[in-house]
């Protein structure tokens, strides 16, 4: 197996190839930030999605595309947590950092 050529030539490479990948990243992070799920739930969903891909025979699976897995994982965690049924944003009911509310 050969490493991708850019491993040796592409220092400080861009992190996203396409804007939709950046949006997918930001959307997953934003929903976690606003308390719709724990980041670890998203991570577990991503691990499962990638694990399924790795356990599928190469002839049976799509070519590797990290952000396809990212989107599948995001759709699953949104579904599992019924994020689409969450109450709309209103009076700041979502505490982004509830643990920071201590008065010291």
């Amino acid at each position: 197996m050969m490493l991708h050529e850019t491993c040796t030539t592409d220092q400080a490479a861009p992190q996203f190839d396409h804007e939709w990948q950046r949006r997918a990243f930001g959307l997953a992070l934003a929903l976690s930030e606003f308390g719709h799920y724990d980041w670890s739930d998203f991570q577990q969903s991503l691990i499962t999605t990638i694990g399924d891909w790795e356990n599928t025979a190469p002839s049976e699976r799509d070519q590797w595309e990290y952000y396809d897995h990212w989107i599948s994982a995001l759709e699953k965690v949104v579904d599992d947590h019924e994020v689409l049924n969450a109450p709309p944003l209103d009076d700041g009911g979502h505490a982004v950092h509830p643990e920071d509310d201590h008065d010291h």
């Binding site: 490493l3 990243f25 694990g51």
Partner: protein, 206 residues
Amino acid sequence: MSDQFAYPSDREASSAAKVAALEALLVEKGIITGQTVDKVLAYFESEMTPLNGKKIVVKAWNDPEFAARIVVDTPAAVAELDLPEGMAGAEGEHLQAVANAPGVHNLVICTLCSCFPWPVLGLPPYWYKDPVFRARAAREPRKVLGEIGVELPADTEIKVWDSSGHSRWFVIPERPAGTEDFTDEMLMDLVTTESMMGVALAGPAS
């Protein structure tokens, strides 16, 4: 014109459409606003950058006591520095530093997903998530390091750290020789993201 390359671009369009549709639906239902994702990305891209990691490494180079603390209780040592506050989900609570030393080189990988230490390194280069890189780096790190230009003495031990949600590893590279008189700014220029992943040594960015 149909050819064998049509499918990936269809898939690409399909993925892009899925993201746009999901965001639009969330906005329509009032669960997020049209600005939410942009705000989160703006914060992330301005604050969660390798600049944080560079400051940590330079502090460790200049302060032996800090260098000793950073590998024992990384979050507490990082908290001593004036860095941006972490965000929930991308927080630094699981950060764990490992230090290179004469005879020891550390390499960070993630075999399942990219549990990357964002708060200090920003996002990983895209090839870090490539399954070939991950699998080979776990199995034959010395060979992989050689291929990407990191030639280590035969008797240098290579430790491979598998990042996870529980431990987000990053590397304190060795300070290059001949930099005793460097200012902090000059030293920071020597610390690349790659050197903090263990896939390069500290030195001028190539």
